[in-house]
Structure formats: structure tokens, C-alpha cells
Amino acid sequence: NITERRWEARHPFVRLAEVDERTIDPAVWGRNWPHQYDSYLRTVDYERTRYGGSDAVPKQKLDADPWLRLMWAGFAFSLDYREARGHAYMLADQDHTERVLQRPQPGACLHCHSSILPAYRHAGDGDVMAGFRLVNQMTWNEARQMTDDQGEPLVTHPIACVDCHDPQTMSLRVTRPGFIVGIRALAESDEPLPHLPSVERWRRGDRREPYDANRDASRHEMRSMACAQCHVEYYFTPEGDPRGRNQLVFPWHHGLKAESQEAYYDEIGFSDWKHAITGAGVIKVQHPEFEMWSQGIHARAGVSCADCHMPYERIGAMKVSSHHVRSPLLNAAQACQVCHNVPEAELLARAHTIQDRTRDLAERAAAALVDMLSAVKTAQDAGVDAAALAAPLQLQRRAQWRLDWVYSENSHGFHAAQESARLLGEAIDYARRGEALARQALAPGQPPRRLEPPPMPSATPDAKAPPGPSAARD
């Protein structure tokens, strides 16, 4: 036993297989790095935590929190929105979601749901950035079915080794055009970013070359930036945008904070859709994990995504990063105790305290939003002048933005506890202000008629929920 350990310590790995940019299949990489590959495969596993983790059949959030169907009325998310699960499922889950099955979606989706670089390179004739722009504009089906000149499919795997690692040096890298362009804009903004020292350093420099994470970021920052390629808020450019249609953009031009992103959307006059109940122009927030983490104490203290979600695990004498990316609460010993010298139960209790408070306040904000929608709708139905309701619609935009920012962020407040509560407090303020104005437009004694979430006839019943990728282990 001890002999074996000493040996392992001296021989971390042998290159049994050659891997390069075109090696998408993780099984090939796995011959060189079997431990990482083993844990990578375990992302098919599922186990729930109080608020997170994952299930075999991912929970339908629209049923758990029916008010979501009111908030997102008229938008694809009101058809089907489930708990996230392991990386192994990212492509399959997109194949099955009603959002794709019932609504036209662009190729831009695949940026974050597959090992997409071969498709970009093919479409752009070797130029990834050009290919990215072309694939974005395709329909989702066109993009998903792309083949190379030999007719071999180009979109084959969920995230793979090559997406995060340089095949020559194995160092971390970012490959996603959305991030590469987004972080440039962020660097050029003037929001302070004390948790990203390389950006602050670039800002103090001559700025002749745009910020480039692969050149400028420290290895430590890369341990978060690798994830920031996907775990971020985004939007698709609308018809008429000078950059073309359905281009994937990270709205970081004024900074990462909820208010900074909102300022950007306001400035360009962007809305994802007109709200089906009130007609307000509203924005959908998607998984701003990187942005929320950026507001928290862990980021400030230099703790990266990989520190918690890919903690080192000891395999014999070696330490390897767990590629079983998942909720750290399933694994608090490795994920938290390396830094926090307290029992596991105590760590869970601390995390749950934060999440319970967030949940509590989010429900309060949701109630406020529903009250507001009810009041506005009642006023509209009563024939109140649209001018009198312009202010409430604007307030609805503000309220939804903040509530969605926290709700769609997947840590339930953990990544930035006080910031989550602050945003929910603001959401409540905007929603209730809208309600107050709408109520005043009503006659005294005419209470708003309470809206009920519409039924969900079209959504996948649980029995037909997206199954796991059948071939995940081959």
C-alpha cells in the first residue's frame, strides 16, 4: 500500500493517447487522465440537497413555484423550466425541453450546451469567431444537425475536456466567444472588480490590446472564468441589431451587478418579450452565477468556483480535481472543510440559514409581484387610461428583473447572501409601488381581482421528463 503511494506520487500520468484540438471525445483523454475522466463521468449521478443538487427526473420548477408562470407569462420559460442537473445531461436536456420543442430557438443555445468548437470552426472555415456568428443565426435544429464534409455530425458531446483544457499543456483556458467578447467589454467598463485582479491590472496598463483571459488571467482566476463561459446572464440580439440577429451577448458593458446590467439593457432599449398579462417590456434573467458570486465574500476572498465545485480529492498519493461538478453541499468535507474547520453538520446549517432566508424573502417578493400584476390587470380591464399605467409597467420591469436575478441564480443566495437579500428587498419595493399606483387608479372599494397561475397543459408530464443521455457511459 505505502509502496504504491510513493510510486504514484512520482508518476502523476503517462500520455497513452495523443489529444489535440480535434479530440472531442473525453474517453480518449481519459486514457491519459483516468481519474479526472472517472469523476467527469459521474456527472450523470444525482442526489438532492435542501435546495439544489439534482434528481433523476429533474423537478419541474413551474409546478413547485406556480407564480413563475405569471412572471414569465408569454415567454418560453413558462412552458418548461426544470432544476439543473449534471454536465452529462446538458445536450440531452436541450433536446427535450418544451422551450425548444414548442418555440423556435436559435443555434446560439448550443454555445453553452455542447462541445461546440468543431461546429464553429467548420462554419467559419477555421475562424471560430466567424463560425460562432453564423451558428448563432441558424435555427436550433440546423445547428444541432450540422455535419462536416464527410457527413459526420459536428455537435456530439456535452461539455468535454477540450472546452476547458489546452490539449498540449493541459492548462485551463477559455474557448467560448461569448465570454471572450463579454469579458473584454467588462474590462473596458469602470465597475471596480477587486476579485479579478488581472482585469484591474489590465485597466492600469496601456490598453492597446483588448483584455484576453487566456493571456492575462492568473491560473486562480481561470478556475472561475472557465465556468463564467456559461454560468452567466445572456441575451440574444433582436432583429435589426448591427451585430446581426440572435447573436449571443453577455450584458457586461457597464459591469456585472444587477443594476449595471439593467442599465445596459435600458440604454439599448432591450426587452426579451412583452408580458402577456400587462404588456410590459420585460427581461428574462438566466443563471447569473458568475455575477452573483462576484458580489459575495468568497469571491472577494479569492475563493473560486472550482474550489467549491471541483474540490481536490485524494486518489492514493495524488490530489486530483474532482470533475464530478455538483453541489458542494453533497461533499462538504472536501468542498468546505479544507477552509472551514468546523463539523460538516454545522457547515450545512450555515449554508441552509442563508438559503432559508433567501427563499423566505423570494417568496415575499413573488407575492408582491403577483399582487402587482393583479392590480394592473384589474385596472386595465376596468378601462383605466394606459398613460396612468405607464409607471406601473416600468416598475414591473424593475421588479421582475431583480426577483428573477435571484431566483434564476442557482445557489439560492449562498453565492452572495447579503446581495441576494438586497435585490429581493428592491424587487419588493418596485412591485409594491406598482401595486399602489395601480390600486389608486381603481375606484375605492374595488379590490384587484387576484390572478391565478394558468394551468400547464403543454408541459411534459414528469413521466415523460428528459431522460439521461443513454450513451453517457460509453
Binding site: I2, S218, G302, N341
Partner: protein, 172 residues
């Protein structure tokens, strides 16, 4: 501290007494793993076990690497106590290491914390003489409540004290 951690030290003891073979294995590890190194005061001796590498590395980064070695802090000062603790820890570390049956990250046990505290006070008597200690109110304030990283340097500025591997690029 998780309930029952302290008792973990005793259970294997009973078990070990009953299974000579296991003792033999433990002793083999103790010998092959250069257990004699345990008996020296050279910190490098501890790194015979790769599992002690992180504590060692972080000790190198601590304020005390010039003032105190592992044994200055982790072994009792009294002659008898010192050898007793060496036997205790030496044996159980070998045991635990061989059977890979211990909590990771490693967490110090209560009895070993008491040894530590006594050693802090032994060196820093003057500094802490006004701090009410045992005898005054019956309990001392734990030095590590505040001075968490004296023996094992923080990983990067601001990181709590424990011993994660230091990723390249994240060094202070």
C-alpha cells in the same frame, strides 16, 4: 468537533490489542514508513507520510517556521508525556495511514489541542500572563480562536488556516 471523534482513538486501541496481525501491519508501516523518523525532531521526518505534506508546506509559510518545529507545538514538554504522545500518535497515524481510515481533511483531536495550547503558553508565558487562564475562571481562551494560522500559514491572503494544496498562480 464531530461527536465521537475523541473516542475514535480508543476503539482502534481495543481492536488492535485483540488482533496481533493488524498490530503487525501497523508496526510494519511504522517501520517501513520510517517510523523512527517520528522519534526525531526534524520536521522533514513527518513528511515521510505524504499526508503530512500539506501541514509541512503550510508550516513553512507560517510565522513560526523559524521559531518552532512540529514537535515543539505538537508534543508535550514533559519527558514521559512526550514519548507517550509519540507512541500514541505514531502508532495511530501509522494505523490510520495503512488502512486509509481517517477523516479528510485531517482534524486535530481534542487531547492534542490541549497539548498545543500548553506549548503556546510555555513559550509565551510572559505575553499572556495577564490573560485569565485556568484557575481563575476554570477555562482558558483557546489561543487558536484568534491565532489560527501561527503554525500553518494561510493559503493566500485572507484564506482561513487549513491546508489545501496551494494551486500555482494562487500563491500569496
Amino acid at each position: 468537533m464531530a461527536p465521537g471523534r475523541d473516542s475514535r482513538g480508543i476503539l482502534p486501541l481495543i481492536f488492535a490489542a485483540m488482533t496481533g496481525a493488524a498490530v503487525g501491519v501497523g508496526l510494519f508501516t511504522f517501520g517501513y514508513g520510517r517510523g523512527h523518523a517520528y522519534l526525531s525532531d526534524d520536521p522533514a521526518a513527518c513528511t515521510q507520510c505524504h499526508i503530512m505534506q500539506d501541514p509541512y508546506d503550510s508550516w513553512l509559510k507560517s510565522s513560526h517556521h523559524a521559531h518552532a518545529t512540529c514537535n515543539d507545538c505538537h508534543l508535550p514538554k514533559s519527558f514521559g508525556g512526550k514519548w507517550l504522545a509519540k507512541a500514541d500518535n505514531g502508532f495511530f497515524h501509522s494505523w490510520a495511514f495503512t488502512f486509509q481510515d481517517f477523516h479528510e481533511p485531517i482534524q486535530i483531536k481534542k487531547r492534542n489541542l490541549r497539548i498545543l495550547q500548553a506549548n503556546c503558553v510555555a513559550c509565551h508565558q510572559t505575553m499572556v500572563q495577564q490573560m485569565p487562564r485556568e484557575g481563575l475562571t476554570g477555562e482558558a481562551l483557546s489561543c487558536f480562536h484568534c491565532h489560527q494560522s501561527v503554525g500553518h500559514g494561510a493559503r493566500t491572503a485572507g484564506m482561513p488556516r487549513r491546508f489545501p494544496p496551494i494551486p500555482k498562480g494562487a500563491e500569496p
